[in-house]
């Protein structure tokens, strides 16, 4: 019996709990499934394109690299499925309420906190948004990175939380983060209630997807997708797994929500057209 092999990045110890649980559930539902953990997305994407795994649970940035590499090699990759919570995210630029900074123009000459260099939501996409508003990072404002979990494409929340703390401490003038983390940091008190103001919000974009490589056994990939889409939050066996992975339902994968990130990757030169890592200050 052939086994579907999936790659995932170990951004947290709970990743083992999650995929062990999925493995058992897939097995009970007739799919031979196993997983391989990688310490960073670059290694995982290379393994996917080299055929070491059939499917990879990819960050949006890993997707961007995977399809560039695939195109260069003349093979195809596809987004099989994604979480409902991966759809239509936004990032926000936040300032202290009493800072006097009213809009993005007010950031000129200021210090802007971002997450890790490879975080789509806390670095690449918001900086691209600032560029589109005429503010070039490093030229028109100073950039302050918070390099937590580099190589894990911002999956670790620590970089965003450190950026928020820097804003509260007054060592930066603005901080970039995902919209839901602004809500989380405000609710948990990292950002004291009412102490910050959102001065910009990016257009919506999508986050992770299961990326399948065309060389993977199609029937297994289809069975994998079909089982995922059939998982119901009503099912008490499934619900803990969905809670751990942070979703209520799986959705069919779509690739229409990655344009902002693709532009950000090109602008910043993070990857080249063939998917080589081009960012000079990136050490996954």
């Amino acid at each position: 019996m052939e086994t579907l092999l999936m790659g995932a990045v170990a951004y947290d110890a709970k990743v083992v709990t999650i995929w062990d649980g999925f493995k058992q559930w897939f097995s009970a539902n007739g799919l031979a499934f196993d997983y391989v953990l990688y310490s960073n997305y670059e290694r995982q994407v290379e393994a996917l394109l080299d055929g070491h795994v059939h499917v990879a649970w990819n960050s949006p940035l890993a997707w961007a690299r995977a399809h560039r590499m695939a195109k260069a090699r003349g093979i195809e990759v596809a987004a099989v499925a994604m979480r409902d919570t991966d759809c239509d995210l936004t990032s926000v630029v936040v300032v202290n309420a009493g800072s006097g900074i009213e809009d993005l123009a007010g950031l000129a000459g200021r210090r802007v906190a971002v997450g890790a260099v490879d975080s789509p939501q806390a670095t690449l996409i918001p900086l691209s948004h600032l560029r589109s508003e005429g503010l070039e990072p490093g030229q028109d404002f100073d950039l302050v990175h918070h390099q937590v979990g580099v190589g894990k494409h911002g999956d670790h929340i620590g970089g965003e939380r450190d950026a928020a703390r820097a804003l509260v401490a007054g060592t930066v003038d603005a901080a970039c983060m995902i919209d839901s983390n602004h809500l989380l940091f405000s609710a948990e008190g990292t950002l004291p209630p009412g102490s910050t103001r959102i001065i910009a919000q990016t257009p919506s974009y999508d986050h992770c997807n299961f990326t399948a490589v065309a060389t993977a056994p199609a029937a297994l990939v289809e069975q994998f997708r079909s089982l995922l889409l059939g998982m119901s939050y009503d099912d008490p066996e499934v619900r803990p797994l969905l809670d751990l992975e942070g979703l209520k339902a799986w959705r069919v994968g779509r690739v229409t929500g990655y344009a902002q990130l693709e532009a950000a990757v090109d602008e910043s030169g993070f990857y080249d057209e063939e998917g080589h890592v081009a960012a000079v200050d990136y050490r996954p």
């Binding site: 759809c87 995210l89 809500l183 950002l191 209630p193 009503d234 099912d235 008490p236 339902a249």
Partner: protein, 395 residues
């Protein structure tokens, strides 16, 4: 299609508790009904979208000025967590499923929980209707060792008599350690659904801890080192600790062991040579009487549900007797100390009295055991035979 329900958060943000109003509105929405959200918190629209995404709801965020922040279309996961949930009461269940875990009796338990290691989960094995009342009595009867005993009362005994008191106290502490450990071993295995039973045993453990304290304190009062602990005495107690069956262990400990101790503590209170010894034995006696009452009530209930247990309990007495046949039983020093205590002095005539009283005590203990065994349904002849096999170590 119902018209939208309207929820106005006023100035309340979702980072300040506003999610409570959204949760309530969404959970109350009719199937297919949209929830219109209004409010003036500055970041409400950004947070509304993020909140809906994490909760699995579709949302349309309003554009332009105005009080409306957006419209929520509740997702299919709304309320899904409680489908298949079950009430764990409020009546005492015949069997408490291990998946109910630590839930309060009567709580609604989400489906899909893990199984907890509570193997004693059959009502027939653990429950007695007497448990709630015994727990209430136990809780009301708690006493503070610091104030319940006048530790400054005069204790000026002859050295020999004091030595006898210390030996008896040493023996009592050893036995109370066993009486603490046995219910403690079962406490964590009984399903918390049977909370009154758990509570009675928990208080029983606390009772024994206090007994250990006051007997130790009395032993140390005269400045002497504690007395002797024998291999035979400890071997007898080990058989109690090793008994794996709850009903059998409870029978051996509370019906036979603590039942026998009622007579011993009463004897010690009666013949105590000083007020502190009399008082600590009096306090322990009241607690032990409650432990015996609970043991009798539990065993009566278990035997009613399972009469086949009666021969197994009898067999347990035989097995314990056989296991202890090669040991000395009650140590010589304890027996002699009881004689000295009852005598009050070393004068030959007093010792004769003391010896006779200890013999009478032994007969009283036997009579008590037989009475309790008969009450549990054993014929008098069998009760007498079983009583005679009880450990010579009393407990």
């Amino acid at each position: 299609m119902s018209p939208p329900s309207i929820t106005d958060l006023d100035e309340l943000g979702l980072d300040q508790g506003g999610h409570l109003l959204l949760h309530r509105a969404v959970s109350r929405a009719a199937p297919g009904q949209v929830v219109e959200v209004r409010g003036r918190a500055p970041q409400l629209r950004v947070h509304l979208a993020a909140w809906c995404r994490s909760e699995g709801h579709d949302v349309e965020v309003a554009e332009g000025p105005g009080p409306v922040a957006g419209w929520i279309r509740p997702g299919p996961a709304t309320g899904a967590r409680w489908q298949g949930a079950e009430r764990s009461g409020p009546e005492v269940a015949e069997r408490a499923p291990t998946r109910w875990g630590l839930a309060a009796r009567g709580a609604t338990v989400e489906a899909g929980g893990v199984d907890f290691p509570f193997p004693l989960n059959d009502r027939a094995a653990v429950w007695t209707d007497a448990a709630p009342a015994i727990y209430r009595q136990a809780a009301a009867a708690q006493w503070d060792p610091a104030t319940a005993v006048d530790w400054n009362a005069p204790v000026e005994l002859d050295d020999d008599v004091e030595a006898a008191v210390v030996q008896v106290m040493t023996y009592l502490v050893e036995n109370e350690n066993a009486a603490l450990a046995v219910p403690a071993r079962f406490l964590g295995r009984i399903h918390p659904h049977f909370r009154e039973v758990v509570a009675v045993l928990a208080v029983q453990v606390a009772d024994e801890a206090r007994h250990v304290e006051v007997f130790t304190r009395r032993a140390e009062l005269g400045g002497r080192p504690l007395g002797l602990s024998t291999v035979g005495g400890q071997a007898s107690l080990l058989t109690l600790l090793e008994e794996p069956d709850f009903a059998v262990a409870h029978f051996l400990l509370s019906v036979l062991g603590e039942g026998t101790f009622l007579h011993l503590l009463s004897f010690l209170e009666r013949h105590a040579p000083d007020p502190v010894t009399a008082r600590v034995c009096h306090l322990a006696l009241a607690d032990e009487a409650r432990h015996v009452a609970f043991g009798m009530a539990h065993l009566a209930a278990v035997l009613e549900a399972d009469p086949g247990l009666r021969p197994r309990l009898a067999a347990a007495i035989h097995e314990r007797h056989d296991a202890l046949a090669q040991t000395a039983g009650l140590n010589r020093e304890v027996f002699d100390a009881l004689v000295v205590l009852a005598a009050g002095s070393w004068a030959p005539v007093a010792l004769a009295d003391g010896f006779r009283r200890v013999q009478e005590l032994s007969a009283e203990m036997d009579e008590g055991r037989r009475r309790r065994l008969v009450k549990l349904g054993y014929p008098p002849e069998e009760a007498a035979a079983l009583s005679s096999l009880h450990t010579r170590n009393f407990m």
